[in-house]
Symmetry: C3
Subunit: 162 residues, 3 copies
Amino acid sequence: MIKEIQNKKLSIIAFSGDFDKLTAAFTLATGAAATGYEVNLFFTFWGLNAIKRKSGRAPAGKGFLPGIFGILMGGLKAAPVSRLNFAGISPKIFRRLMRKNNVATLEELVDAAKELGINFYACEMAMHVLGLEKSDFIPQVKEVLGVASFLKLSEDGQTLFI
Amino acid sequence: MIKEIQNKKLSIIAFSGDFDKLTAAFTLATGAAATGYEVNLFFTFWGLNAIKRKSGRAPAGKGFLPGIFGILMGGLKAAPVSRLNFAGISPKIFRRLMRKNNVATLEELVDAAKELGINFYACEMAMHVLGLEKSDFIPQVKEVLGVASFLKLSEDGQTLFI
Amino acid sequence: MIKEIQNKKLSIIAFSGDFDKLTAAFTLATGAAATGYEVNLFFTFWGLNAIKRKSGRAPAGKGFLPGIFGILMGGLKAAPVSRLNFAGISPKIFRRLMRKNNVATLEELVDAAKELGINFYACEMAMHVLGLEKSDFIPQVKEVLGVASFLKLSEDGQTLFI
């Protein structure tokens, strides 16, 4: 069987909830989408914090333990930097540097991703573990997917784990 | 030369020894294998802890320093969570949430990986650094490989670094 | 359209500035290059520390905040281990183990990468955020690239995010 050239495709498993890694994921995603790539973002584990409806620290999910984790982890606005976080001062400094140097901030990148038609998927298994439901996420989340479905739709493209 | 469609293939460089990242690696691996993928797991650095014969904290490898590292790092049962570990309480909570929500635990995922015929490889270079030998690992480890051999067998598939 | 077999290609997004992850990135890169792969290293965020001209702790980039970050992060010689760093003792121990066991150290791997003709690229966006300029980097850095250009040149190969 002969393989035809597919449309260019970039798929990212967004596992990390760190400010810097999420920024990298969304920078890659929007940069790719802006130049014609099909882009799939599959949020799992800590990465699910980036697509929570509540972007601050708030309980999420069913049950006591998921609630505690929801507060501890927080949403997009509470994302820490993976190194030298200094109790949350570093993300603020990075945001300031980004604005000062005319680089899109994380929130702006997320908005751009939505506008560019990037596909947002949430990981079914991680949602089960953390007691989260589709209604906990922003409406742009297209579908809740298992691993096999995600691998299938990311075939024949570049796939990154961030 | 014309390229034919290969069997679907997923290769993972399992670098991390963190509980959550190992869970992600094994979830992806087993999900892929269950739907017909050829799956290759290449354990290196901290990831080698996941395939140690002794799953608790025990010295491993030859020499004094490797022994100390063996105790500090421990095996699969001692794997910490990459964020909010709280001195090892978090992995216990996650294990409980997984059982409660009928999600496979890390140990169950490792067992499933073995049953699904996933290929386990150990990184030659990292074993040299840490003073580990093939006999320190579980018998499912098929081969000790260098980087070049691993890249060769992961060609034309999806490759992730976790 | 028919796809022809490309030269083998490995592209790595070197995001991390951790000693162990940089070692993994350069081990993969040199192992691939030594067996005929085209290898592209795209340094971004913390990974930029690996290609700074000044390998110790020194201010880099324009402005007060970038200067502070430059000192805090340091260059290649100041890279911490991602786990069990023990205030910088661990990288020293790893370097010793590597020498003792005849495994190339990180500095030797970087030198080998240059000699093997591996392509070094720096991420334009991260340089803007951190106030870094091309002149802050070692002369082997071939080009400053945006995301889209990097994705284009890494197409049809294996791409890893480390």
